[in-house]
């Protein structure tokens, strides 16, 4: 089976919609087991391990993060946050057989109670075709103002 550029682009749109609609079980199932979600702290950061990042999460941490959102004693989610992605048509930067790289600019809005914040960001997806399905091998999200002081970011861009 081969993957078309449009299928890759649709995949990115679908993922954003899952996150906006809070369909986290489906979203976790998109990931390959050894994938990492990386959100650098520094502009153009190259090293996720030996420097501080905002996020560098394996599947255990991502599951924990998602599970926590619905916990009976998760007080920072009473009431719950909501999020909203507005994405630009993804660039498909690489198509190498079964692996692909896309680059997507987006505006991410997260809100809870009277507060709402807007983040401009770029997401790089490393995708892989495994058993006939597209999966996320890694995801890197660069926030345009990564060096600013942030309030809580509780959901996932």
């Amino acid at each position: 089976m081969s993957v078309s550029k449009d299928q890759l682009i649709d995949f990115i749109y679908d993922e954003a919609r899952m996150l906006d609609e809070g369909r986290y079980t489906e979203w976790l199932a998109l990931w390959l087991p050894d994938g990492h979600y990386w959100m650098p702290l520094d502009y153009k950061q190259a090293d996720p391990i030996n420097e501080t990042s905002l996020l560098y999460e394996d599947m255990f941490m991502l599951k924990l993060r998602v599970e926590r959102l619905n916990g009976a004693r998760t007080f920072s989610q009473k009431p719950k946050s909501r999020c909203h992605h507005v994405i630009q048509r993804p660039f498909v930067d690489e198509m190498n057989g079964d692996t692909f790289v896309t680059n997507t600019s987006m505006h991410y809005v997260e809100t809870r109670l009277d507060e709402q914040q807007l983040l401009a960001l770029t997401a790089r997806h490393d995708l892989a075709l495994v058993d006939g399905a597209l999966r996320i091998a890694n995801k890197r999200v660069d926030i345009l103002n990564c060096d600013a002081a942030f309030r809580n970011i509780q959901l996932l861009p």
Binding site: L41, D42, N50, S53, L55, L64, R65, E67, F75, A149
Partner: protein, 447 residues
């Protein structure tokens, strides 16, 4: 004009042995007074020397609400200057760090200053001839803070010209900083990357008090640490299988009350203190190959073991930083307003130690201290609920009397049950002392 305006004694009266009045957290006049008296008379953290390694390197930050520049004037000489042009007030540097070369040059009218602040040149200087500019503060150059001390790479400043010495202010509490630096086989730390910056809508003191609040982790962090434990159990991994890193870092937050009682709290004079006298949530981190060997080579096995056996958890340096020796971190609680605080969380590399140690502190930082951290979310929610709740009239005092003893004397070091709130009382004792410092000094001068 408010009831506290210009009256530090009125503010000092908000502190009682077992409780403090809510105005210490929510009143803007009390906030102004603490900036003017507490932050001016105490020794406050500025930065680490490795943030300005070369001549002309500078780093812009705040001491209390005062914008300052840490700058390397000579290879072994770091100065702390107010970030303000003596001409018309323009901030001299706007970026957070950089190199200014041999001198600072104000971007407005090009007055220039040596990196120790001294006036270097003024364009069209003849316009000031005979005007007596040299006799004014503006004619002297950029103003320096009252005093600066570099302690093993950590730069502290006292804004006041006169006052308590560095040694007297910190006393034996420096043992925590020593332990953090000694963990480097070369006795040297280096900052790693920029700090996390996390904006809280609460008073800076709530964050500082939380550092030794050992009765909240198993409650407020049940959502994150408790869920981590549950997920791990569901995985059903064999005992000896490697644990997910999150388990090593986050799960210890769920330790029971007895663990925190037994870990102990030590307080020192002038508001400093630490949790983890006997053990701490950092005690059971896995050993990193090659590290002990490197330490033993420098210090000998016995001393190396003694350094690494120290597992101090959080050490609070009054007024507004906390360090974690075992993982080389420093959190700076920078006040912006009575209800606004930026928390900057730094990590350091142990020079001469394996990279895995840096990786662990980086992991701890993002898992616990980031604006994206689930543990951070738990805490912020509590602080901000408190900041709002304190506006309730008719119930105006905040209780700090867990394990209160009669006639507590904070001028003596003490080691107690790890769930005592004595360190919070110790901080308020110091807060009161430095709030009244100028007044006391005046009285003593008059006598």
């Amino acid at each position: 004009m408010g009831i506290y305006t210009g009256d530090p004694a009125a503010a000092a009266n908000l502190v009682q042995p077992n409780q403090v009045h809510r105005d210490v957290y929510i009143n803007p006049d009390v906030y102004k007074l603490e900036m003017k008296h507490v932050f001016a008379n105490a020794w406050v953290f500025v930065g680490h020397e490795s943030q300005t390694p070369n001549k002309g390197d500078y780093f812009a930050t705040q001491v209390g609400d005062q914008p300052v520049i840490q700058v390397r004037h000579k290879p072994d000489d770091i100065h702390v200057l107010y970030n303000r042009c003596p001409h018309k007030g323009t901030k001299i540097v706007i970026d957070r760090q950089g190199n200014t070369g041999k001198f600072f040059r104000c971007p407005y009218h090009a007055w220039s200053f040596k990196t120790d602040g001294c006036l270097l040149a003024i364009p069209l200087k003849k316009g000031y001839e005979g005007t007596g500019l040299e006799d004014t503060p503006s004619g002297k150059g950029m103003k320096a803070v009252g005093a600066v001390h570099n302690y093993r790479g950590f730069i502290f400043a006292r804004l006041a010209e006169e006052g308590i010495s560095f040694e007297e202010f910190f006393g034996d509490s420096l043992s925590s900083l020593d332990n953090m630096v000694d963990r480097s086989p070369e006795g040297r730390l280096e900052v790693v990357g920029p700090p996390l910056r996390y904006l809280h809508h609460c008073n800076w003191k709530m964050l500082v008090e939380n550092q030794t609040d050992t009765c909240h982790p198993m409650v407020a962090h049940e959502s994150s640490a408790g869920t981590a434990v549950k997920l791990y159990e569901e995985l059903g991994l064999p005992e000896d299988a490697p644990k997910p890193p999150a388990m090593e870092i986050i799960a210890p937050f769920m330790s029971p009350y007895e663990f925190f009682e037994g870990m102990g709290i030590r307080t020192w004079p002038n508001g400093h203190g630490h949790t983890g006298v006997n053990h701490s949530i950092h005690s059971n981190y896995s050993a990193i190959p090659g590290y002990f060997e490197a330490m033993a080579e420098t210090y000998g096995e016995e001393k190396a073991k003694a350094i690494l056996d120290e597992n101090r958890h959080n050490t609070v340096y009054f007024p507004n930083i906390m360090i974690k020796g075992p993982i080389q971190q420093l959190r700076n609680f920078i006040p912006l307003a009575a209800d606004r605080t930026i928390v900057e969380s730094y990590i350091y590399r142990l020079v001469g130690a394996p990279d895995e140690l840096t990786a662990r502190t980086a992991m701890y930082n993002r898992m616990i201290n980031a604006p994206t951290s689930i543990v951070g979310h738990d805490d912020l929610e509590m602080y901000e609920r408190a900041q709002e709740g304190l506006h309730v009239d008719g119930m105006e005092w905040v209780n700090i009397q867990r394990l209160l003893e009669e006639d507590e004397d904070f001028s003596e070091e003490a080691v107690l049950n790890g769930t005592t709130e004595r360190q919070m009382r110790n901080q308020f004792d110091a807060w009161r002392k430095f709030m009244l410092y100028d007044q006391t000094a005046q009285q003593e001068a008059a006598e």
